[in-house]
Symmetry: none
């Protein structure tokens, strides 16, 4: 089995200013591939400590992933620290500059500065890794049987670079074993309850393994099998997947890379149906989750953020007496908002969210976290009440996901 | 200055199943106290690797905080690994058991099991640290001038134990140094260009230090000073901050925890002005960034997501001939959208975004990443053209931030 460790570079991590999210992100995937991660380290922008950390890693791990410190400034020391730790030269490559650094600036219509030349300094005979999303190309250094990957710090650059260029190299090192993962995505059940329901299936499973993964308002179960071939691994997964689906099927909304938004859009597209949203506390987040999916324009022509009562009345035609009697955070208001936006946008489905995201604005009757969701369609309107915990951002995300899930149920049963 | 490192113990961290939140939580507090944290490490429930990690830490840090691995099972190896690393005996203490383990069970009306005796194994002459919230007492080991703190893994046990019992010990060790950081937040300038403009200021700075931090579409400079007191550290920061502001002032939108959305809302609130957004490619993201700030309802009553031309025409009153002649992604359309939504929502400022977020839909004339932004106010309309790189998500985030920045400029100069 391949052993790996992950080194995150950046004083801001050691000062507690940002979370070291890379370590977790990479570890999840490495675990799924059957790579054994034995250490996570975070180290500051300090040449000596960084070099010592890499030197130690070279002694104990076959694969070393270093994130951060690839920028153009003097604080960006990862390239030189790795070169020093390996005793390899660090040389400017015009070729690499032209191929991996300059094009990013060309696309932006900007000119690289002198300091950007640093980003084309090659460690020994390292292979550069393209970065379509930033100025810092990655590097893959092979040294004495070790594989060192230098990846940029910003998550939106690091994650696609890992997925597109590093993952396949790691798979090719894998000793021929195929590792296949299958994600089962669930909504409406918590991690501990899901665990309890399938405890007997989980117990004693070592190949395939089953790992529960919780994220904001939803969860997933990842089944990972190792076998001589991909086909064999898939065949090992199938019965475990069936067993889990039998217990948890009612909560399953998708598989693998599916997201709630994507699943909803797929269901809408299959029915040539359009949706529109009337958002109060989510304030555009629900629509944004849908628009983030490429091709969403087929199924979504527009939405209304109706944060104030005035907008709810004027644009969505919510009767003023409903707002006066029940308040804007009520099942009645949610229903009228969904009906109103559906009519305004001439859509098949109108979805609404109205709630109290906090931190202030809660009352004993209507506490922070109280949210009403509604879906209007030709079959009428369905309203749902939920109470979410968490801070403002979490309540907004959970509300938006709850709305997507309610919509999914309505579309699927149409 | 005291040097410290934090070791998190638990295979679940290395598998990516949970975040290592302790490292950040502790680092924030240690930095504020003037303790220099040089390393974070996460290591699994493996005796040898854990012992090696502690041995290395003893060589390089004065204070070592180890979290996790204090439970009652065979997987809980922290006590024995620390004892081995220090060459100290590990002996059951009936006194410690009665004082620190048994009372928790008594309170719950339960009886400790045999394995809970492990939790009263004392490392050398370590001082036990009480844990009112769980079965695992902490330990404070003093060894050859090093201070090793063993704290339980669950955050709700670790955090109060640290606060109530560890902090005061660390303060008593303290050379009294305080570390203070100041963030300068910039928009509209890249990391390398900012670096170039202040290179002479950065060069040779070791206290305070200046670190550039890039994030999606914006950047920050962090000045960090160490001094005998917080006041002294602030006084060291002031002249550096002035020097940086002199060079980069035009790009500075805020300080410390400010965000673009927060800064915009503050400026709007100061003028009792309201904003509304007409979003095409951002699809609700711009409004959502504003609504995520508590109290935003004062300045934002509603927005329109106008993804389809039909919505732009009907709701925002964009003249059809503008869409026919210039297209929906044009400065003309952006201007009309901003004017239209401002009127529809009776707001002081109307902000619009229209662009091509990709991955498809680009043409040679109008490539993916092309975005038009506009702000309409009583003084007329300002339109801006930008070309962003990145994937769909990045283009949408960068567009939303560009719109916030354009709005900020207009509001500030009103």
């Amino acid at each position: 089995m391949i052993t790996a460790e992950i080194i995150a570079v950046g004083t801001e991590i050691l000062l507690g200013q940002i979370d070291n999210t890379h370590a977790r992100h990479l570890s999840l995937d490495l675990a799924a591939m059957g790579v054994a991660v034995y250490f996570h380290t975070a180290v500051g922008d300090n040449r000596e400590r960084l070099m010592n950390t890499v030197t130690l890693a070279l002694k104990r791990s076959q694969v070393i992933i270093v994130t951060g410190g690839l920028g153009p400034t003097d604080d960006d020391l990862t390239r030189s620290a790795v070169a020093d730790a390996c005793g390899l030269p660090l040389v400017f490559s015009q070729e690499a500059f032209d191929a991996y650094v300059a094009p990013y600036f060309t696309r932006l219509g900007r000119v690289p500065t002198d300091s950007n030349r640093q980003q084309a300094m090659r460690i020994g005979s390292a292979v550069f890794i393209p970065n379509a999303r930033g100025t810092a190309p990655g590097q893959h250094v092979e040294w004495k049987g070790r594989h060192i990957f230098l990846l940029p710090g910003p998550p939106l650059e690091m994650q696609p670079m890992y997925r597109e260029s590093v993952r396949s190299v790691l798979l090719s090192l894998g000793g021929g074993d195929a590792i296949v993962s299958r994600m089962i995505r669930l909504y409406g059940i918590g991690e501990s309850e899901a665990h309890q329901r399938v405890e007997d299936i989980l117990r004693g499973q070592s190949n395939p393994t089953i790992a529960p993964l919780a994220s904001e308002g939803e969860m997933a179960l990842r089944i990972t099998a190792r076998a001589a071939s991909e086909q064999a691994a898939r065949e090992m997964i199938a019965p475990v997947e069936s067993a889990l689906l039998e217990r948890l099927g009612q909560y399953v909304y998708g598989f693998d890379d599916d997201s709630l938004a994507q699943t909803v859009l797929k269901a809408l597209r299959a029915r040539r149906a359009r949706v529109t949203c009337a958002e109060s506390c989510t304030g555009g987040l629900l629509t944004s989750l849908l628009v983030d999916i490429p091709g969403s324009s087929d199924c979504l022509h527009g939405s209304v953020v109706a944060y104030d009562d005035d907008v709810k009345e004027r644009l969505l035609c919510v009767p003023p007496e409903i707002l006066a009697t029940h308040g804007a955070v009520s099942g009645e208001a949610a229903g009228e908002m969904a009906i109103g936006v559906r009519r305004l946008m001439a859509a098949d489905y109108g979805v609404s969210v109205t709630g109290i995201a906090g931190p202030s604005g809660g009352t004993p009757d209507k506490p922070v976290g109280l949210v009403y969701l509604a879906v209007a369609s030709e079959r009428g309107v369905v309203v749902k009440k939920r109470v979410f915990s968490g801070d403002r951002t979490q309540i907004r995300i959970r509300s938006a996901k709850a709305a997507l899930h309610l919509l999914l149920q309505q579309v699927k049963h149409s």
